[in-house]
Symmetry: C2
Subunit: 293 residues, 2 copies
C-alpha cells in the first residue's frame, strides 16, 4: 500500500503556538499543504476558544481555504456544540477524542474514559447521519505522562468500542513521544489480530527521538501505512509535560521513501509550506541543504 499521510500541522502544530496566527496565514498554509501530495489535512479544531484561542477562527479557515478535490479535509470535534459549528462548514471528516487513561482524559477534556465515550457517541452518530467520515483519536495510547506505560489490551478494547460506536478509523497517539519500536510492536501485535491495518493510523511525536524508528517498524513489520505527521515537525501537546513536536512530515516521508515505501509527498513543498509560517521548525530534513533532497 502506498503511504497515506494525514497532515496535522494546521491543528496539532499550531494549537499551542502562543502568538495568534492571522487567519489569512493559516488559510495560505493549508492551501500550500493541499498541493504537497498529502492525502488528508486536519485543518482545525472546533474546541472552545477559551481553551484553545488559536483555533477560534475554525469556521473562517475552513470557509476560506481552496479545496483540492484530491485531499480530504477534517477537523477535531470534541462535543455536540463543536459539531454544530463544524456542520456549518464544508468538511469531509471529523475526529472525536478520547485517551487511554482516565487521568489524561481528566486533564485534557475534563472527564474520564467512560465520560469521553458518553460525550463522543452522540457526535459520531450525528456526524454519520450527516454523511461525514469519522476518525477516533486515542491519545496516550502507549505511554501516559501521569500513569506510565499503558496496557495494550486496554487500548485495543477502546479501539474496538470506537468501531462499535461507528468511527471509520482510529488514530493511536504517542502523545508524549515516549514510545519505542518495542512499545509499537506490543500494541500492534494485539490490535492487528482483530483489526485490519487500513483502519489504524499512527500518530507519533519526536520528543524522545524515536518517531522515525517507530514509523519504519510499524510500516515494515506490521504493514501500517497511514501516519499523522506535521510539516516542519511543528506542534506538541499542552497537557503533556515534556512533549515536543510531532513527527515531521518531511522526516517521515524521507525515511519511508529511503526504506522503499511508495511515498507521494513532495518533500520540498512540505518544507516550503512549513517555512511560510515563520515559526522555528523541528525537523531534521528541513535543515538539510535543499539540493540534497
Amino acid at each position: 500500500m502506498r503511504i497515506w499521510i494525514t497532515e496535522v500541522a494546521p491543528r496539532d502544530g499550531l494549537q499551542n503556538v502562543k502568538e495568534r496566527i492571522p487567519t489569512d496565514r493559516k488559510v495560505a498554509f493549508v492551501d500550500m499543504l493541499s498541493e504537497t501530495g498529502v492525502d488528508e489535512i486536519e485543518v482545525t479544531a472546533f474546541v472552545h476558544p477559551k481553551w484553545v484561542p488559536q483555533m477560534a477562527d475554525a469556521q473562517d479557515v475552513l470557509r476560506r481555504i481552496k479545496r483540492n478535490p484530491k485531499v480530504i479535509y477534517s477537523a477535531i470535534v470534541p462535543n455536540e456544540k463543536g459539531l454544530e459549528r463544524a456542520l456549518e462548514t464544508d468538511l469531509d471528516k471529523i475526529a472525536v477524542l478520547t485517551a487511554a487513561t482516565d487521568t489524561f482524559n481528566l486533564k485534557n477534556i475534563n472527564t474520564d474514559i467512560e465520560g469521553s465515550f458518553q460525550r463522543l457517541i452522540p457526535v459520531v452518530r450525528k456526524a454519520k447521519t450527516e454523511g461525514l467520515k469519522v476518525r477516533g483519536y486515542v491519545s496516550v495510547a502507549f505511554w501516559c505522562p501521569y500513569e506510565g506505560k499503558v496496557p495494550p489490551q486496554r487500548v485495543k478494547d477502546m479501539v474496538l468500542r470506537l468501531f462499535d460506536v461507528g468511527v471509520d478509523e482510529v488514530s493511536l497517539g504517542d502523545t508524549i513521544g515516549r514510545a519505542s519500536p518495542s512499545d509499537v510492536k506490543d500494541l500492534l501485535e494485539i490490535i492487528l489480530k482483530d483489526i485490519p491495518p487500513d483502519k489504524i493510523v499512527l500518530h507519533f511525536h519526536a520528543t524522545y527521538g524515536m518517531a522515525i524508528a517507530n514509523v519504519i517498524c510499524a510500516w515494515k513489520e506490521f504493514g501500517i501505512y497511514r501516519f499523522d505527521t506535521s510539516a516542519g515537525g511543528l506542534g506538541g501537546c499542552p497537557y503533556a509535560p515534556g512533549a515536543s513536536g510531532n513527527a515531521a512530515t518531511e522526516d517521515v516521508a524521507f525515511a519511508l521513501r529511503e526504506s522503499g515505501a511508495d511515498v507521494r509527498v513532495d518533500i520540498k513543498r512540505v518544507i516550503e509550506s512549513a517555512e511560510s509560517l515563520g515559526l522555528p521548525l523541528e525537523s531534521a530534513i528541513s535543515r538539510v541543504p535543499r539540493e540534497n533532497l
Copy 2:
C-alpha cells in the same frame, strides 16, 4: 551482548567548533564522560593543527585527563607524524582513517583510497608493535556527498583489507547522516557473512533523522552492539555539506534501553557532561525534563 559505546564527542563533536575551547574545559569534559559508563572515549586527534586547530592540544588533553581504568582511551592518528606525537602520551588505542570513495578521501585527507592505505599501513604496524589496539575508520560507508550511494561490496573489500593490514576493529561511518535502515541492511548483510559482528562498530549521524532507526535496526536485526555516539549530539563533518550532529549518546542509549538492550550508560550524567561545554545540544533526550528520564 551488552551495548558498547565509544563516546566521540571530545573529538568528532568538538573538531568543527570554531571557537577554541580551553584545554581545561576539554579535560574536565573527558573526565566527566569517564564517569558516565561509556566503554571508550575518543579523546582527540593527532592531526596537523593547521587543518584542525581545535585539536592542537591533543597531547596536553591526554596527559591531563584522569584515567578511569574501566575506560579505553583512544585518539585519531592519520599518519606517522601523528603517531610520533601519540606515542608520547598514554593511549590504549589509535584510529586510522580511510573513506569508501576516492573523492571523499581526496577532499578529506588529500589522497585516494589506495593512497589512504599506503599512509595508514605503516601507522598500523608501528602502533601494533608498540602494543596499541588499532581501529580503522571507513567514512562515507553508506553514502558519499560527492559520489552518492556507495556499493556495499566495495566497503566490505576495504574492511577485509583493513583487517589484513592488522586493525582490530572497523568503524563504518554514515558521515553525512543519509543512511536509512535499508542501507544499513544492504551493507551488514554482505559484511557479516565473513566478519563477526563484534569486529564492527557503527557510526551514525543524525542529519536526515534516521540515526536511531539505524541503530535499532543494526542491533535488533544484525546483532551489532557497538556504536560511536556523541554526548549531546555534538559534532558534524567539515568536509560533508549538510552534515549535522552525531547520533547523540543519550538518544541512542535511551532508544536501545527501551528496546530491551543491556545499556549501562548513565543518561543523565551524559547530558550533564555535554552541558558542561556550554554549546547548543542537538539531542532529543536532552530536551526532555530530567525527571522523565
